[in-house]
């Protein structure tokens, strides 16, 4: 190992962990390309791709015209030639110009070709609120994509998952919509780059507990862990499940947990109606009906457009709203 080789265990922010994961994927496979707006010299508006164009060149780290449909559509043509393009959508609210290419094209090409032509495309989307942004910069559009057959949808909640999941998503022969919780980009953790990661499409119990099950993903995992810590003051031990994969879902660990606790609360930032929480609640009801002591409750954003940032704290689920739901579950 040379003097400049990075140490195998490093403390990284999520943004740096994603950068390290992208770098490693590009080193491992010369067919991996990055494409997006401002991802080259600037390194992306969140600096996730910082330094990669300098090291891998403009042919592999592609600054694109400002056209999201073009970014994803060109990735399809590149995939037909065997390239694996990681598209960066600058902000969640900007994905919709590419929605057609993702939903009517990327998601269906393997199916249309009867399995002959894989679409190993990753679409990275920084998502969620809590950063004081203007309109269209704080959205949680994951349900649209999880509702689309042919796509896989994942989201990381911490630097360790970010480092591994981005590499696994790139290695996947299926298209993966990769949601990055932008308000957690600069939170740090120790990342062991030599460890063996969990499979990409698996959920994980991040905090064990016997009294109730909190189910969350992305930015809300930290909120739920903090809620669980606070609940110990009231003598309640809350189990927290990080879904990690939204399509396909991996609900086995959720069912096991709910069968033990009898109480389930699903938490996400996206509007409550017809969101991931509704699907998770329905599936828990189907699988764990006789174990439930109360209906599955949801703590989520409301069915209004994401509010102006000065009042976003009122909209976003927080520790108190999560614990309020737990109280309601126990008083049912």
């Amino acid at each position: 190992m040379s003097d400049t080789a990075p140490a195998p265990v490093r403390t990284m922010t999520m943004a740096k962990a994603l950068n390290a994961g992208l770098r490693r994927a590009m080193e491992d496979d010369p067919k991996v390309l990055l494409a997006g707006e401002d991802i080259g010299k600037l390194g992306g508006v969140f600096r996730v791709t910082e330094g990669l164009q300098k090291d891998f060149g403009e042919a592999r780290v592609i600054d694109t015209p400002l056209a999201e449909s073009g970014i994803v559509g060109t990735a399809i043509g590149l995939a037909v030639r065997g390239y694996r393009t990681v598209c960066e959508i600058q902000f969640d609210g900007f994905v919709f110009p590419a929605f057609d290419q993702i939903v009517t094209q990327v998601a269906r090409i393997r199916w249309r070709t009867m399995g002959r032509t894989p679409m190993p495309i990753v679409v990275r989307i920084p998502y969620g609120g809590g950063i004081g942004a203007i309109e269209h910069h704080s959205e949680s559009p994951e349900a649209y994509f999880a509702h689309t057959p042919g796509l896989k949808v994942v989201t990381c909640s911490n630097p360790v998952d970010a480092y591994w999941m981005i590499q696994q998503a790139i290695a996947s022969d299926d298209p993966v919509i990769f949601f990055e919780p932008k308000r957690r980009y600069y939170e740090k953790a120790e990342v062991d780059t030599t460890s063996t990661p969990l499979p990409l499409h698996s959920s994980r119990i991040v905090r064990p507990g016997r009294d109730a099950t909190l189910i969350a993903y992305g930015p809300m995992v930290k909120t739920c862990v903090e809620a669980a810590e606070a609940a110990t003051d009231e003598g309640r031990e809350l189990e927290v499940v990080d879904l990690r994969t939204l399509s396909p879902l991996d609900l086995g660990p959720v069912f096991d947990s709910v069968r033990r606790t009898g109480h389930a609360v699903v938490v996400h930032e996206a509007p409550v109606s017809v969101g991931l929480g509704a699907e998770v609640a329905a599936r828990i009801t189907e699988e764990c009906f006789y174990s439930l002591e109360a209906p599955v409750l949801r703590v989520a954003g409301m069915d209004v457009p994401y509010p102006p940032s000065r009042i976003e704290e009122d909209y976003l689920p927080d520790l108190d709203r999560v614990l309020d739901a737990v109280d309601r579950s126990f008083s049912y």
């Binding site: 449909s69 559509g73 043509g77 030639r81 057609d100 290419q101 199916w111 009867m114 002959r116």
Partner: protein, 373 residues
């Protein structure tokens, strides 16, 4: 502006033409047909074949054997001229009306019938014939074609100087598609990266019921200037001119000099699809005007007058086309129908246990009827 009965409003705009509707070979200062009479005979044979396949498909639809068919009638000159200009290493992104392109690229027309019969989704091998599936969402193929061209460049297959190696892409679309954002994005990306793409717009004058002047106030080929690369209008019913113009554009693209926009000025002689009724929105005068500009009859007149083909040639062409139509009809009626369960296998490369459980539940439900019998 137009004084000619049945002529389109912008028909006076100059277009490259090398064979007049009367079958006369004419010169053009910038473009020349490089093929010989044998190639002209091939053009005729292939156009006649495609026209026969089209007629058979319409008949099959009328008899309830296809769900739908978009006719290519009248556009054979544009399709065959362009497809013959392509080399095997070039790549085509066709629309759902480009039957002349897909068949010339080597795809069995039975695959087209399968798609419109509803037994599959148009699933020829997109690598075997270097021809993508038919695009159904209008315009989506423009950015995809540009991406493919970007891939060719990264693979060192553009501008190497080796004619057996250098490759380019032809992106087919129509006048209706020209209004789609994806077409503009494709043109922007291709210009920005100097990608080896020929944007081939078959302006057949009608997007279902909307005339081309609803899509554009200026002739479509002029759009290229705004994107910073050449545009040219060609008589789309003149296979020789289309071949010459497309050959030049492909050569330019393959050698690393970037994209070209070709507007092939043609006419959709049939309905948009078998579900359409064009008598509701266009006049018979227009059809008469364009019938006199038919892409097949001008080539036939040339071949007959010049003595390059005799009656035996035309008889053989007709016999081959009839034989193909007979074979297609027979095989269409016995095309295998996949099971719903099979389609589950196509969705993901790495299967999901969730989907497997969904299928298992459905199969148990379906099997319960079998047991009850």
């Amino acid at each position: 502006m137009s004084e000619v009965r049945g002529a389109r409003p912008d028909e006076a705009e100059p277009a490259v033409q090398l064979l007049t509707p009367e079958g006369e070979r004419v010169e053009h200062p910038d473009y020349a047909f490089t093929g010989d009479d044998a190639m002209v005979r091939d053009f005729y044979a292939q156009m006649a074949l495609v026209r026969r396949v089209d007629a058979e498909a319409i008949a099959l639809q009328r008899q309830g054997e296809l769900g739908l068919w978009p006719s290519s009638l009248g556009q054979e000159g544009a399709q065959i001229g362009a497809a013959y200009a392509m080399r095997s290493q070039d790549y085509a992104f066709p629309t759902y009306r480009e039957h002349g392109v897909t068949i010339t690229r080597g795809i069995d027309p039975l695959r087209l019938l399968a798609m419109f019969r509803g037994v599959d989704t148009g699933s020829w091998d997109v690598l075997e014939h270097n021809t993508y599936m038919y695009s159904i969402i209008i315009g989506t193929q423009a950015v995809q074609a540009t991406g493919y061209g970007m891939g060719l460049e990264r693979d060192g297959l553009v501008g190497s100087g080796d004619p057996e190696r250098d490759a380019a892409v032809v992106c087919f679309f129509g006048d209706g598609a020209s209004s789609q954002g994806d077409i503009s994005e494709g043109l922007v990306f291709a210009a920005s990266y100097n990608a080896p793409v020929v944007f081939f717009c078959s302006n057949n004058q009608w997007a279902i019921s909307e005339p081309s002047e609803r899509q554009s106030r200026a002739p479509l080929y002029r759009r290229a200037a705004g994107f910073g690369f050449p545009g040219v209008r060609v008589d789309g019913n003149d296979a020789l001119a289309v071949h010459a113009v497309t050959t030049a554009a492909l050569e330019r693209a393959r050698s690393g000099n970037g994209p070209t926009f070709i507007e092939a000025y043609t006419y959709r002689m049939g309905a948009h699809t078998t579900s359409d009724d064009p008598t509701k929105y266009r006049l018979a005068d227009e059809l008469e005007h364009w019938r006199a500009r038919d892409p097949l009859s001008r080539v036939r007149t040339y071949l007959e007058r010049s003595g390059a083909a005799d009656a035996a040639f035309f008889d053989a062409v007709d016999a081959d086309a009839d034989a193909l139509a007979t074979r297609l009809r027979r095989e269409c009626l016995t095309l295998p129908v996949p099971s719903l369960a099979q389609t589950f296998d196509w969705v993901y490369a790495e299967p999901s246990s969730e989907l497997a459980e969904q299928l298992a539940r459905h199969q148990a439900y379906a099997d319960s009827f079998e047991e009850a019998r």
